[in-house]
Every structure is written in structure tokens, then in C-alpha cells.
Amino acid sequence: MAIDGNATRVKEELRQSFEGGRTAFYRVLDRIDDSQWNLPSANPKWSIGATFAHICGGLSTVPLRMTSAREGKPKQWMPRFVFDFVNTMLSRKLGRQYDRTSIRRYFDEQYAAAVAQLEGVKDSEWDLVSRTYIQRWTVRELFAYQPAHIAEHLESITSVL
């Protein structure tokens, strides 16, 4: 069921959630210094740096997920163990690739791309279903998840600071 008359309000709420996620990201990033980048986070899989990178990586998936929703086709659907492996290793790799300074540009790029996707959502598209990697999300769920994902992982950083 389309959300019709609520679409504008929904998009505005999501916009605000995204902005809240961005603000929180920078607030936590500004709390650490360079020496803390490689320290463990509360998530045993990742360092603090890898966790920041993982947040950016999550945002980077939004365009592909929207393509899946609009085409009505699964994209890069895979077994969970493969997803978990790639997710873990890619975040570690990105955590080594970026540092506390360069992660800002990476975040800004992925954030801007995700917000652009949000702005491009038509009223009729909120209930389309994206099937990407291992997740099935409606478009609305896809965008609602991103700020929640940021908050979840920032918590694994702030809890060890």
C-alpha cells in the first residue's frame, strides 16, 4: 500500500534522521584522536576505524539497493556467510585504507549519494522492495535503516571511549 499523502512528511522525517546520523557521526569522530583509530571497538570484529568505515560502507550500498527496488530484481544476492565475510573483511580493509581525516571525505561522498537517492524517491516508490545482498527492504525501510545503522555502530565506538 502506497503512503500517498504522507509521502512528503515521510521524506522530511527521513531527511531529518539522515541529518541526525551525519551530525552524530561527526560528533563521535571528533571525540577521538589519531591514536585511537586502530583501537578495538566494542564490536569484536572491528577496530574503531573499521567501524567508521563500515558506517560509510553501509551508506554506499544505497544506490544499488534503489536500483534493485526500481528494477524489481535482486542485486548481488548471496548466502549469508558470504555477506558476513565480505562485510567483515571489507570494513577492516577500509579501516586500514582511511584514517581519521580521510574518512570524512569518504563519509561525505557516500552520505551525499544516499541523500540524493532519498531525494529522488517518488511517492509511488516507498513500497517497492529492494533485494540486495541478503536484505529485503521496502524503500521506506531502506532509508529508515541507514540512520539506525549509523547509531548502532557509533554506540560500539562510544562505549569504549
Binding site: 535482486p74 544476492w77 548466502p79 556467510f81 541478503i134
Partner: protein, 157 residues
Amino acid sequence: MAGCGGSGPSGQSAASSPSPDQITQRYVALAHSYWIAYKTAEGDIPTFVRVCWGGDAQNPATVDPVACRGIAEAILLPHEAFVRNLDSTPAPAKFAHDDTILRTQLPMAISALKAMAAAASAGDRVSVIQYMTNYVNDMVPSVLDALNEVDPTVLHT
């Protein structure tokens, strides 16, 4: 399950010239039966991951060479049958790109599986994990994406 992956769709006259719809139907049916046979042979994924990949941590001590070899040999059969059947089942134009991916990637996946089975036979757990990784890389996401295009009735995973 008899005949799954072992032969193309039956009931077609060799002398007749199939219509575009028939070409598509045959190709989709072949892909569908292949995947059903493959998943049946594969069994449950957690077991496959544990015995051939050492679980999520890829721990060589967790690898079970005998069980891994059994799965490898079982899933080789539908893979090889499918690749053979592709040679006698022309792809419709709309699946040409997917067909190319399948014809390119699956022989690589088969090679990785054979190497994994050989490593398992030798009790070389570290190599088993490496070849399993190669196999996954050959299959995911390209083969799964291609199969999802060809046969959207199944979410290939």
C-alpha cells in the same frame, strides 16, 4: 528429482525449429532444474561452510575433509551436467550476457571444486579453505545474479 540437471527439457523434436518462446522456455527450464539439483546436492549451507570453510572464522581445525569431499563431489555433478547442457541449449538473445557469465564462471567454479576435493583427499585443510574461497568467488555474485535474471522464480542463494 530424477533427471534434474542431467538432461535438457524433454519432448522437443530435433528436426523442428523452436520458436523464440520455446528457446526461452528450454533455457529457463534448464537453469531451473540445474539449480534445484544443485541445492539438493549442496545440502544445508551451514554444514557446507563448516566442513569446507572452517566456519565463519575459517578455522582449519574445523574443516572436515571427508565430509567436505563428499559435498564437493556431490555438487560437481549438477554443475558439470549444466555446463554440458548449456552447449546444446541455445540462450535466447535476452539472456546472452547471462549465458556468457555462466559459461565463463562455472568452469572456473568446477575447477575450484575439483581442487578442493583433491585437497580434502590429501587432508590439506588450509588448501580446502582457500579453494572453497575461490569457489565462492567464482559463484558470487556473478553466477547468482545471472541465474536470478534467467529464472526469477527462484531467489538463488
